[in-house]
């Protein structure tokens, strides 16, 4: 028997008939033989439907006509092609067999080539029907996927609108809150000056707290403002000299470099596909942190380098500063400070802004750090001439 290929069940009560049919079919198909209709139904129940049934009509137990009727009545078996192979010679028998749903009726004695041809035809027809059904199922799945994609797109569109509205609200709220908080700081400072030496120690402490808190609020609102508008300000991506952006950032940080007596080394930096202002902002935040978070009494050492990684440039800003506890905090989260209870300035916005800008540029950012030894901040930006 063939190991593969369509499975044909043959039912006949005479052993010589089964032998002849098995010999005829076994070179091309898998063949299983049974002695009557009941055995055939049992076999199907046990092993599942075959690809085709060749069946005698006159059999003891359950004859071929009754077997056919039962097979055609059951949803699981009604599609199995059935060929009657019978010695019955009345035209009424053939007509009756076909009326029960059989696909063909071959009279014995049969011509071997004719049996093979009819089996082949029926199997081909069955395969065509199977393929058509498969295609129909695939088309239905495809239609469902299209519908889901359409629904997802609608959801994305709605979320985009909501997000945009939220960003606008945040920007407006932050912008409008900043002015009164600045006024609070200014008038607080004026009060500190005009009341200097006139207040009791406790009252002076209260006033200092008011001013410090107002200042903190001013910085926080400023951070929200910067964060909310950071991707919105992004222009069309263009080739940018990252060395120039880095130098511009260092220029802005000149005072900090001078006071901290930092030494900064810059490797060869490439041209990248970016927004010049965004890249400058990223350098400014990362270099600012590297200069700011230095160990007491240790002058900051900062090294800036870049290396090609496939389609991106990977930048590294390494410092010898304090490092931070990377296991317990994500410094790229908004208002999450790497050094929350120390004396360093800042509200925890810079790294969150960097992350947001780099996401908008198609890059990413991460850090490696060791407490007390320093940190390495990495980020990637697309190389020039590559499309995302």
């Amino acid at each position: 028997m063939m190991a593969n290929g369509p499975l044909i069940l043959v039912a006949d009560d005479q052993a010589d008939n089964l032998l002849v049919l098995e010999e005829l079919l076994e070179d091309r198909y898998r063949v299983l033989c049974v002695g009557d209709g009941l055995q055939l139904l049992d076999l199907i129940e046990e092993f599942g439907p075959p690809d085709l049934i060749l069946m005698d009509v006159v059999m003891p137990g359950m004859d071929g006509f009754e077997t056919c009727r039962q097979l055609k009545a059951a949803p699981a078996t009604r599609d199995i092609p059935i060929i009657f192979l019978s010695g019955l010679d009345g035209s009424g028998d053939e007509e009756f067999g076909l009326s029960l749903g059989a696909d063909d009726f071959i009279h014995k004695p049969f011509v071997a080539a004719v049996v093979l041809a009819r089996v082949r035809n029926l199997l081909a027809r069955k395969e065509a029907v199977r393929q058509e059904r498969q295609i129909a199922v695939m088309e239905s799945q495809l239609a469902e996927q299209r519908q889901q994609a359409q629904m997802q797109q609608q959801l994305i569109d709605r979320l985009t609108i909501l997000n945009s509205e939220l960003e606008r609200f945040t920007y407006i709220a932050a912008h409008d809150l900043r002015e009164p908080s600045r006024t609070l700081v200014n008038y607080g400072q004026l009060l500190q000056k005009s009341l200097a030496g006139k207040l009791a120690s406790t009252e002076q402490d209260y006033l200092d707290h008011v001013v410090a808190s107002a200042r903190h609020m001013y910085d926080l609102v400023g951070g929200v403002l910067e964060f909310s508008r950071s991707p919105a300000n992004l222009g069309v991506l263009q080739p940018v000299d990252s060395g120039e952006a880095c130098q511009a950032a260092l220029d802005r940080l000149g005072g900090l470099i001078e006071t901290s007596e930092a030494s900064v080394s810059i490797g060869t930096l490439p041209w990248v596909e970016a927004d010049p202002m965004a890249l400058l902002q990223i350098f400014q935040h990362l270099l600012g942190n590297a200069l700011k978070f230095h160990r007491p009494g240790v002058a900051p050492k900062v090294a800036i380098s870049a290396e090609r990684q496939d389609e991106d440039w990977q930048f590294c800003i390494a410092d010898n500063g304090t490092g931070f506890d990377a296991a317990n905090q994500d410094p790229f989260e908004l208002f999450r400070r790497a050094h929350p209870r120390d004396g360093y300035d800042g509200v925890g916005v810079g790294l969150a802004v960097c992350k947001r800008l780099l996401q908008a540029l198609g890059g990413r950012i991460w850090a490696e750090t060791t407490l007390g030894e320093g940190s390495r901040f990495y980020f990637t930006v697309k190389a020039v001439g590559l499309e995302g």
Partner: protein, 143 residues
């Protein structure tokens, strides 16, 4: 092998005095057609012949019992089986006889009893020819 086998019977096979179904001297089984159909598979032919002998071992006896009992449905069933096997073995004369017996018995025609009786004899004759054929060393010659 390298040797030619000869049929054990030198004289031609003649069936009972017949009614035109068998030609005198014609073989009961068309061995040439049978071997041609299964050319290259002599072992299969042996297996088929053995199976036929087993299947029809009691056929003649059963047929005669049915005749005695005038059991027409039984005659129909047995004749039908003989007809089928005769077709498998290219025994056309026997097949025609079985067909006739089946038809007459199906119609409950009394002449079907006589036809069934003749069929029983033909079956015996047929099985005898099959047995003799099987005695040949691997069917090296035609009967």
């Amino acid at each position: 092998m390298g040797q030619v086998s000869k049929a054990p019977e030198a004289r031609p096979m003649v069936t009972r005095p017949c009614d035109g179904l068998y030609l005198e001297g014609a073989p009961v089984v068309d061995w040439v057609s049978l071997e041609s159909r299964y050319g290259g598979k002599p072992q299969f032919v042996v297996r088929l012949l053995k199976t036929v002998l087993q299947v029809h071992e009691a056929t003649a006896e059963n047929l005669r019992a049915a005749v005695r009992a005038e059991d027409f449905p039984r005659i129909v069933l047995i004749s039908h089986g003989v007809k089928s096997s005769a077709g498998n073995l290219f025994a056309d004369g026997l097949r025609v006889r079985a067909l006739r017996a089946e038809h007459l018995a199906r119609d409950n025609d009394p002449s079907g009893l006589a036809e069934a009786e003749l069929l029983a004899g033909d079956v015996e004759h047929w099985l005898g020819a099959v047995q003799r054929r099987m005695a040949l060393p691997m069917f090296g010659s035609s009967q």
